[in-house]
Amino acid sequence: MDTTPVYFQLLDLPVAYDIDAALLAERYRERQQAVHPDRHAGSGPGERLRAVQFSSDLNAAYQCLRYPLSRAIYLLDCAGHRASADRTVKQDMVFLQQQMHWREALADMAEADKPQQVLDRLLDECQRAVEATETSFREAYAAQDWDAAMHSVARWQFLEKFRAELDAAEERLMDG
């Protein structure tokens, strides 16, 4: 079942995966200027409450649309397809093997001579995998091939999770 793409409507943008990031930010700021509670500090309680609601909705829309992965998930959601990461990825043996390989490298990083080099290589490989996944999502979404699109998003979620672990490892390395 299709859902109205409210977030795109709130920011008056065409419903599409590729968006103009500068325009998105500009529209967001402009609308906040009009609806933020600070703009209605002297108004009655009804209007102040509504301002908080509007302003919160705008924040939610902006946060969702500005990041590629959350935007992709939202687009699928609006088209009535909720991605389930576990189910799809479990069938993808090549992808799973690569994940295992990376995780081993990350786990062994502490004993490596130059841990930063290991980390840099992993970050680089992960980045390239994200880019490839993004491309396959873009193509699948344009072709309305929902299964392929959901599969890409599922892989993408795994990749972002791994990237977050890499960032955390780097933080420990820098603080250590």
Partner: protein
């Protein structure tokens, strides 16, 4: 039936309607009040020309209180009855306060929530002490601005959690100050610089105050200040610098026995004097007559004594940059806040870290109050057409306790405010009609490692089979960073009653009883006070409605709707002139309900206007290119 006074379009109803707006920096060691006077910000000084008010209150038997410099001068002789650094106790429990160590020599009364300090004038909660400081500032402002305050902005450290913010709000309420907004200190500092320079870019604010350390990364673009990330350490400040020096003195003076509070206070104030003097001089004589010891401290020695504190501060900077997704090279300006940033070591290391010299041309003790005054002027409505908008973020994640002492995060830190999030819960047992929610704030995975904010009890859930009820709990954090919770059972549509038990705050009853005890309202009894509060609220409502009608009444309302509104206004005015609180509340509620559709239409119109502006711009851009 001419009921609302409506003036000619484009003309202000009263030519002298410029409102009195103040910005208050409620600091750990000192507080300030500033206001926009004739187009420039003025920090309001006392009759001796001193802008700072030491955040110190002395309580003596018989209930006499002294605030500021006079209180501070009694700190040495009567430390137990002279409350300083009360900001560190706001919204904190007894265990946290004890953890602050010897710096707070008071006798605490063990009670649920925030501990009270046992003084010669009776028990004083940190909220009441803060209210005394705020009241002294408000009195100063009312005198110098020759009239009542229409609105105030009070600053808080960006790192303050919900309990600390709520405690600050409560203190303002006790002091009878109308608060427009709680503003984060670093945001206020950036406003002070940002407006003066009219610039754009990414700004890092390094705020090392008496008791807290904050670092914030902001972007100024198209008149919007966006906080990209905020971090810091709520237990690091100038007091720690002084304590490091004091410990050095004690070790050299070979003091092994614990000192009396009077002696320790004397050592601490000598430590501060020496630390401050070393900003100007390379070496300073240290004299502690009470310990029968004197010595000398050089700037280099001081730097090695406090280096571990600077390391902690810079680590926070690194983490905050990472949260913002930026590197030091992306920072265009560095703003310094807090007296401790006068220390050459601090300036130099912060400059090295960000790769550019920090801005120091606004007094680091005053810059926050200056920014707050500017924002107060905007919010009170003195600068219509001013485009400056501040978007703050949630400093610490909000979550709820789930099975096994784990936490489910509902709203992550650094989320732009305001924010509304809903989460569905269900019942555990057949026929369950109530449920308890424990809300915490913090980044850790376990409840015990986070700060307990409040326990909410939801009652009135219709009895159903276990797991059948869908209780939607909505968490809302407003622009001040304050949380409110509401709950609704989705299938039956029943709204649950939410009772809040703040973990470290004051309950509504406690505040009410403090209001009646409060000296400011000694003459008022509880009912009269409540009536007066409702009167003030009602006149705000009338004023807001009158200006809304003036702007949009013609276009957005039918003749009939307008007549209904006018009748409700007559009823409210009559109730305000009367003495019946129940009728006043009812009349006010009726008017609010009636004007709600009008408010909705106005908000929609606002958005449409913003959209329209956009389309015109787009068109113009298209024609040009």
């Amino acid at each position: 039936m001419a009921l609302l006074q409506i003036s000619e379009p484009g003309k202000t109803p009263e030519p002298h309607a410029r409102k009195r707006a103040i910005g208050i920096d409620l600091g750990t060691t000192h507080s300030l009040v500033a206001s926009m006077v004739n187009g420039t910000v003025e920090v309001l000084s006392d009759q001796h020309g001193r802008p700072l008010l030491p955040s110190a209150v002395h309580y003596s038997a018989g209930g006499v209180r002294t605030i500021g410099y006079d209180a501070l001068s009694r700190a040495a002789e009567d430390p137990l009855n002279t409350v300083v650094s009360v900001k560190r106790m706001m919204g904190r429990g007894l265990a946290d306060v004890r953890g602050l160590g010897q710096q707070l020599p008071y006798r605490f009364l063990d009670s649920e929530g925030m501990p009270s300090i046992d003084t010669a004038a009776g028990p004083k909660s940190p909220v009441a002490v803060s209210a005394d400081i705020l009241n002294a500032l408000a009195v100063r402002a009312r005198e110098l601005l020759a009239g009542p305050i229409d609105g105030a902005v009070i600053t808080v450290p960006a790192y303050f959690d919900d309990a600390q913010r709520q405690a600050t709000r409560d203190a303002a309420r006790l002091a009878d100050i109308p608060v427009l907004r709680l503003l984060n200190e670093p945001t206020a500092a950036a406003v002070a610089y940002g407006l003066d320079r009219g610039g754009e870019g990414v700004i890092a604010v390094f705020d090392l105050g008496g008791g807290t350390f904050d670092v914030s990364i902001l972007r100024l673009h198209q008149g919007v200040f966006e906080v990209l990330a905020t971090g810091g350490d709520s237990a690091l400040g100038g007091d720690d610098f002084d304590q490091s020096v004091a410990e050095w003195i004690l070790s050299l003076a070979a003091i092994t026995e614990p000192l009396s509070p009077v002696q320790y206070r004397a050592v601490l104030s000598e430590a501060r004097r020496v630390r401050e003097a070393l900003s100007e001089e390379s070496s300073v004589l240290v004299q502690c007559p009470s310990l029968d010891w004197h010595g000398e401290l050089s700037r280099e020695q001081l730097e090695s004594l406090v280096q571990h504190l600077m390391d902690r501060a810079l680590r926070s900077c690194r983490r905050t940059l990472r949260d913002a997704g930026l590197t030091a090279a992306d920072i265009d300006h560095v703003v310094m806040v807090g007296g401790v940033t006068r220390t050459p070591l601090v300036r130099q290391q912060v400059g090295d870290f960000f790769g550019k010299p920090p801005l120091v041309d606004i007094d680091p003790d005053q810059v926050v109050a200056v920014g707050a005054a500017i924002q107060a002027d905007v919010l009170v409505g003195n600068r219509s057409g001013d485009d400056l908008l501040l978007l703050d973020v949630l400093p610490l994640s909000l979550g709820i306790e789930i099975m096994g002492g784990l936490i489910e995060k509902i709203i992550h830190r650094n989320t732009t405010l305001p924010v509304v999030r809903s989460q569905e819960f269900t019942t555990y047992k057949d026929g369950q009609v109530a449920m308890a929610l424990h809300v915490v704030q913090g980044e850790r995975e376990l409840v015990d490692d986070c700060r307990s904010l409040a326990r909410f009890e939801l009652r009135g859930i219709p009895p159903m089979a276990a797991g059948a009820a869908h209780i939607k709990v909505t968490f809302q954090v407003d622009a001040d960073g304050l949380l409110s919770v509401s709950a609704r059972e989705e299938i039956s549509g029943v709204t649950s009653q939410v009772t809040v038990k703040p973990s470290y705050g004051l309950s509504e009853d406690q505040i009410a009883s403090m209001l009646t005890e409060s000296y400011t309202h000694a003459a008022d009894d509880k009912a009269r006070r409540a009536f007066r509060e409702q009167q003030v609220e009602s006149s705000r409502l009338l004023e807001a409605l009158s200006s809304a009608l003036q702007q949009d009444g013609e276009t957005l309302l039918s003749g009939e709707e307008r007549l209904d509104l006018e009748q409700a206004v007559v009823r409210l005015r009559a109730a305000m002139a009367g003495e019946d609180l129940t009728e006043l509340r009812a009349a006010s509620d009726a008017l609010i309900a009636l004007s709600d559709p009008f408010a909705a239409r106005r908000m929609d119109a606002h958005i449409r206007n913003a959209l329209k502006g956009q389309r015109v711009d787009d068109l113009a851009g298209g024609v040009k290119s």
